[in-house]
């Protein structure tokens, strides 16, 4: 585990999980990533990122009731926990601070 640093994809997934609130599981997250962020990611990658986020301690998980369309298997539902929330805030503040710091002239011409 390379510390608690949040990768770009990890950050997006974390946000999507937060967006989906009570229905954040593999396929739903993947769909959201595709529709909202226009990112095509394989299901295994989604799972991998989720596992990593959980290992870093930003996500909690629980099993849902079993649903027939999943061949009787339960969903593993994720929610962003306090630590996750904190890291997202932190990242957002850092970005905002950086945005603030851009001198007006820098972006004028482009």
């Amino acid at each position: 585990m390379k510390g608690k640093h949040l990768g770009e994809l990890e950050e997006i997934v974390l946000l999507v999980v937060a967006n989906l609130y009570d229905n954040a599981y593999g396929v739903a997250i993947r769909n959201d990533l595709m529709e909202q962020c226009n990112r095509k990611v394989s299901i295994s990658t989604v799972h991998n990122v989720l596992q990593r986020l959980q290992e870093k301690g930003y996500l909690d998980s629980r099993y849902s009731e079993s649903t027939p369309e999943r061949g009787g298997k339960r969903k593993l539902l994720f929610t962003v926990n306090r630590a996750g929330q904190a890291v997202l805030e932190e990242s957002r503040q850092m970005r905002e601070a950086l945005w603030q710091g851009i001198p007006n002239v820098a972006f004028k011409k482009s």
């Binding site: 299901i43 990658t45 799972h47 369309e69 061949g71």
Partner: protein, 896 residues
Amino acid sequence: MNSLPQTPGWVDRLLSRFCNPQLLESIEGDLHELFREDIEKAGVAYARRMYVLHALSFLRYRSIRRKNRSKTHNNMNLIINYLKISLRDIRRNTTFSAINIFGLVTGFASLILILQFVLFETGYDRFHENGKNIYRIINSRYQDGTLVQKGAITYPMIGPALETDYAEVTGFTRLTVGGRTFIERDEELFMVEDYLWADNNFLRIFNFPLLHGNNGNALSEPGSLVITESYAESLIKPGQTSADLLGTTVKVNNWDFPVTITGIAADVTDRSHLQFDVLFSYQTFIRLAGEDADNSREWSDFYHYIVLDEKTNIPSFQSKLDEFGVTYFKNGEVSGAVEQFSLQAMHDIHLNPDLQYEYAQVTDGNFVRLILFIGILIMLIAWINYINITTSRALQRAREVGIRKVLGAYRRQLIGQFLTESMLVNVLSLILAIVLVIIIQPVFNRLVALPLSLSLFMENSMSGLPYFALFLSIFLAAVILIGYYPALLLSRFSLLEVIKGKIGKYGDMLKLRKVLVVGQFAAALVLISGSVAIYRQVEYMRQQDLGLDISNNLVIHGPQLRGFDSTFIRDFSEFKNSLSNYAGIESVTATRHMLGDRLPKTFRIHSPMDPERSDLGCNWMAVDHDFFTHFEVPLRAGRYFDWYDHHTNGDDVNTVILNESALALFGFENADQAIGEVLEIEGRGQPNFTIVGVVDNFHQQSLKKSIDPLMLLPFYSNSQFFVVNYAEGTADRAVKLARETYADFYPGNYFDYYFLEESFNEQYQEDERIGNLSAVFTLIAIVLAVTGLYGLVLITLLKKTKEIGVRKVLGANVISLLGHYGKSFLTLIGMALLIGLPVSYWGILQFLQDYPYSRGVEAPVLIGASAGLFLLCVVTILFQTKRIASNNPVESLRAE
């Protein structure tokens, strides 16, 4: 819901095997959901494909795979642990590990060397692209229903006739073998040792690539010549390259036409049954020898190879060949014998030494098989040692096994442990063996006189795999097999049994182990008596009286560059006189056919005793008149030749001397009856030859050949050998004198000599080589068997240290202990000898069948070999027993 298509089951199994079980359910659920979506999107097939892709992509991620800390074991850790334990065990038991590893290294090294030899000998002629479709024509001749000759030579018309008559024959080449000759380039002479007269197809059918020149037509014209690269090196002048020789004209012998070099061929590889430095075109031969060389049905000095279409059915083509023989040779009317033709696959030529008039490089395939057999025996002995010693140590390992089981080891894991051990020991030994082979390769190569190397294993086997892959897989299978038995045995103990002391029965001599020891020593006995028998046979052949005295003889090649004319015989006689005038030169004679060389045979002889037949076949030899006195061949009846029997014109020769064997052939009852009778030998200018003498049989060739009927004829030619007999110990002086006199009489001719006895004994080279090989490997086999025995005895006695101590305290002395413990081993060795003796007897009998002259199976050899082996075992056992039995019982009782 039930109508939902099935997901591929193997993918699910794979996932459940490799994924972290805690995550499995959610993964499977997601996959199912996607599967359903995909079906709706693009159908079942697409969905299945995607399912596989999705599922497999999970295996990439470490976070999803099974975790180390989960209940199941990580294989890597376990294997490392296995290795660690194995290494510890090897180190702790130095003696047994050394015996094991020494045995296996020796076994592997021997087997590798033997396999090199076998691969070398069996891999001849594989470089010809079309090799498996090339066949040589074999010619068998029958008279009165008995086979009189089965040779590699046949008539020159066979090849062209076969190609015209049968569609299956897609090509042929014919050739004949030349003796020694000389090439003259700008007044410098170069000797040619091996040459062939080969037709234009030769370079097209066989893969002997030309470096310069055209394979398609290099040998098409009369007077064309192809030489090998290294021969070209000797011919070029400083600053030239071999390419410059192309188109060069040379003079050959005293031919009246120039010869042009039309090709430079790459050197012929060692593993080719055809060897040559120089090829003359067959057209040249026809030009020199006449049309007979193209179409004769009586002159058979020609070798034929045909190429058969791949789809040819060989048995049915053979029956066509039978008809062919009848059609062209009319059951004996044409050539004096019933001619039968058969096929020999080119790849079989090298390992079949039995054909007459063979010129190819051949080895006895039986010897190759024998050596391979010895190699396998050695390996078996080595592995038997391994199994015996490993299982014997069961007692020592039993406690370890018991503890492991208590600590929760499964039996499967214990088997894994022991398998790893045997794998480690074997692989380690194999690596050491390869290193050993690299070190002793030069010595071994000198012993077998072959350029062997490990690279032979890179060649492809019949199955298309390289040999090393083949052997490596056999090796692995064998290692698992031999590792499995001890593993099963050792892992069987339960702690309860160990504590109760019930394992004693495993530690003792198991039935299987007894059988293995008996087998080992029976094999050792067969090997010992076999190698002694080979050695004795070679010695016998070399020491046997040949019927003539070949010692202290110098052979000089006759003056080939001097034309044969009316003065030749007189000149030689003067040469003879002036050379034998020197003190120390005993006598000088000449012969066309040297002792040890193969003799020509003629088939159209008529004897007065058998008026019906004119087709008797007999070998003949052209000799100088004092050949018999020179070599001290005793006379039976009549007289020796005298100078007046010689005639410059061969057609005037009309006398013959027979050997004893020929008497029976021609129907004479005794030697005196034959004197004065006349033999008709057709095909000569003048067919009538008066028998003037009969001499004792002598061995013209080695004792591997029986003495055939022989006619000695007083013919002369310039390709004669001169033979100089000198006083013992004056060889150098004799060479010097002969060289000077030769130069006086035959200026410009090449003086080239050898010693007769040496060259005659070269006929036994092959037998000696095999004798040496089998002796070396027998020695190794014995050492291995005895080492194994040593180890077994040691283990058995170590287990009984306490018992021995108790016995000693109670009053047993060393001698009685020796008897007590040695008995069971010696019984086994005794049984081994009982089995080994008849097998050895039978084996030696088979071996000697190939030799017409032998001492038969010698009882002393068998008895000596058995006694020697037995003694060796007794010493081994004594040595061990004594060491332990003479320990102070106080110490042995205190042990542990």
